[in-house]
Symmetry: C2
Subunit: 341 residues, 2 copies
């Protein structure tokens, strides 16, 4: 168990290092307000804290730097919630000010604002389209042998895909198919669409139109390649401003990571609500060994949810980012749920 004084020293060191990015020395600490004991005493405490694994030195005679364990402790026990300013609130709420109605636009703008507010990089995961429900099907023929299938979901999202038509397919056939689809599949969540189509609707279509295997497989194909939750970034280049990322290779690895959608998906914890903080190697990713990721989630109506993340150096301003993410996720949930989309 840590003594009060040790807690105090740890807190000051982390706070100071977050601000300055420089190893913190005993003399420097002794000058902080609230610190009543001498550098020598602080050195003793620091030696203890280092022994316990909360602090590290960059070399034998440098000041101390928080270790991952130090950050973890700080985040778990020393993080006092911060109140965000009305200015920040206004800025976050400005996402909705000009009545944008597409969820996608809202998320995109949120990403930008969040990165501007934090000066870190933001990653927003769009709400999971898989849970949207079909509102309307339509098929628009383009040429003799191709057409575009369009699926509108209950919150106004539009999926579309071009597919090839069997050669002997008439406009009235298309109309029939569209009617069948709209009769049978409205209200079905996208994730179940393919299954329903194959198991239930296929038979009906065959019955009404003879066997149109080509069309069916095309339709199934259409439903198979639904886009997953899209990813939006804000402030990708903000990393360049962090002194710990003046090393080309670190920035490069991060940038490369962000180009790979599959890898980025994996930094979001599954099925976790509330604010999650992952520090350094907790991210299980080489490129992010010196990064922390703070995630929150928002939801649209019941069930559908997306995620917000801020990725910054382990030395990031946890207090502020947590407060901002907390508010923004709440605001997004509130606003996106309010108006049915």
């Amino acid at each position: 168990m840590l003594t009060n004084r040790q807690l105090q020293v740890l807190q000051v060191i982390v706070d100071d290092f977050i601000m300055s990015a420089q190893p913190v020395g005993s003399r420097q600490i002794s000058k902080k307000e609230g610190i009543t004991f001498s550098p020598a005493t602080i050195r003793n405490e620091m030696a203890d804290l280092e022994e316990l694994g909360f602090l590290e030195k960059t070399h034998t005679s440098s000041g101390r730097v928080p270790s991952e364990k130090g950050y973890r402790f700080y985040v778990d026990h020393l993080l006092k919630p911060q109140i965000i300013t009305t200015n920040e609130i206004h800025k976050i709420q400005s996402v909705f000010q000009d009545r944008i109605m597409e969820t996608e636009q809202v998320i995109r703008k949120s990403a930008t604002i969040l990165s501007e507010l934090t000066s870190y990089t933001s990653i927003l995961l769009g709400p999971d389209v898989q849970l949207h429900k079909v509102k309307r099907f339509s098929i628009v023929p383009l040429t003799a042998d191709s057409a575009v299938a369009i699926i509108v979901t209950d919150n106004g999202h539009v999926e579309n895909r071009i597919f090839s038509l069997p050669s002997d397919f008439s406009p009235s056939d298309i109309e029939k198919v569209v009617n069948i689809l709209n009769e049978r599949l409205i209200g079905v969540p996208l994730e179940q669409l393919q299954m329903k189509l194959e198991l239930e609707t296929a038979a009906v279509i065959k019955q009404h139109l003879g066997t149109y295997d080509g069309l069916l497989s095309s339709l199934i194909d259409v439903t198979a390649h639904q886009s997953e939750g899209k990813i939006f970034y804000g402030g990708k280049t903000n990393m360049f401003n962090q002194p710990e990322f003046h090393d080309i290779n670190k920035v490069r690895m991060l940038m490369e990571l962000m180009e790979k959608t599959t890898q980025i998906q994996s930094i979001f914890p599954m099925n976790q609500s509330g604010i999650q903080i992952r520090i350094g190697s907790e991210n299980n990713h080489l490129a992010m060994e010196e990064c922390s990721v703070i995630t929150a989630s928002y939801s649209v109506g019941e069930g559908q949810s997306g995620s917000i993340a801020i990725i910054g150096p382990t030395r990031m301003d946890y207090r502020r980012v947590v407060a901002l993410l907390d508010f923004m996720s709440g605001d997004l949930t509130r606003q996106l749920t309010q108006k049915p989309r």
Copy 2:
């Protein structure tokens, strides 16, 4: 006018520097095959070439490096067309191998392949949607006071946008409007849509439905915010591999440039066909003072066209990039025009 020997020396220097990124010395040149004269002679020629502005030194006693003017001359007069390998041809053509039909997917994949092939950064501008013609309108009501408008174009592109409905609007009203729109506006290019809507169709709608100013302005709004040609990148991080971009600030500026869509648009020459090469400061952009941009354009059917660009260091492999861009733009045009989309 340059002598034959000067041309030869300039060619060797540029070729060598493109490969090695190191200043080229007289001794090194004298060892190249085809060079029959001594280092001393070469030094004399180099002094002349420098005086003429084609070469530069990095310091008093370094080897020579091509100047911008040198590259320009090289590109204009010394660039012998290169034949691309069948391997490269296959790779480029693989874009179409799995019968992707969405133009957007094709472009996206092309960007990736081009960056892999060149190890530079590729930027592809999607074909200009403004010239697509309306194939079908539809409006799908979402809630009592909102609906999504969908425009399908003749090549299968789908635009959609949520808008608010006047409060006293019935489903049958919507049907009427959709019918009117489809009767009047099919075949109209997107760029003229707003104008036609305001000038011609508005009156018809009013006549049939009484004055629905709210709806009209919403519809006009829908057509106003058409997405411009989208931008796709390939190999954004390839720049990190170029030795001249080991400087953090240069990479940062480039990355920031690529985040700004408006600025990126401006690197594409307007209304130019064929291969265009812009070297260094010819790009009129601070971030690209040490970059060259090679652009080509492709077209989809008649009229609509998009652009391809490769951005790399001024020291880029012009021969190869020109050959690849030339082939790819031709292939894209051929394939995208072939099947009506």
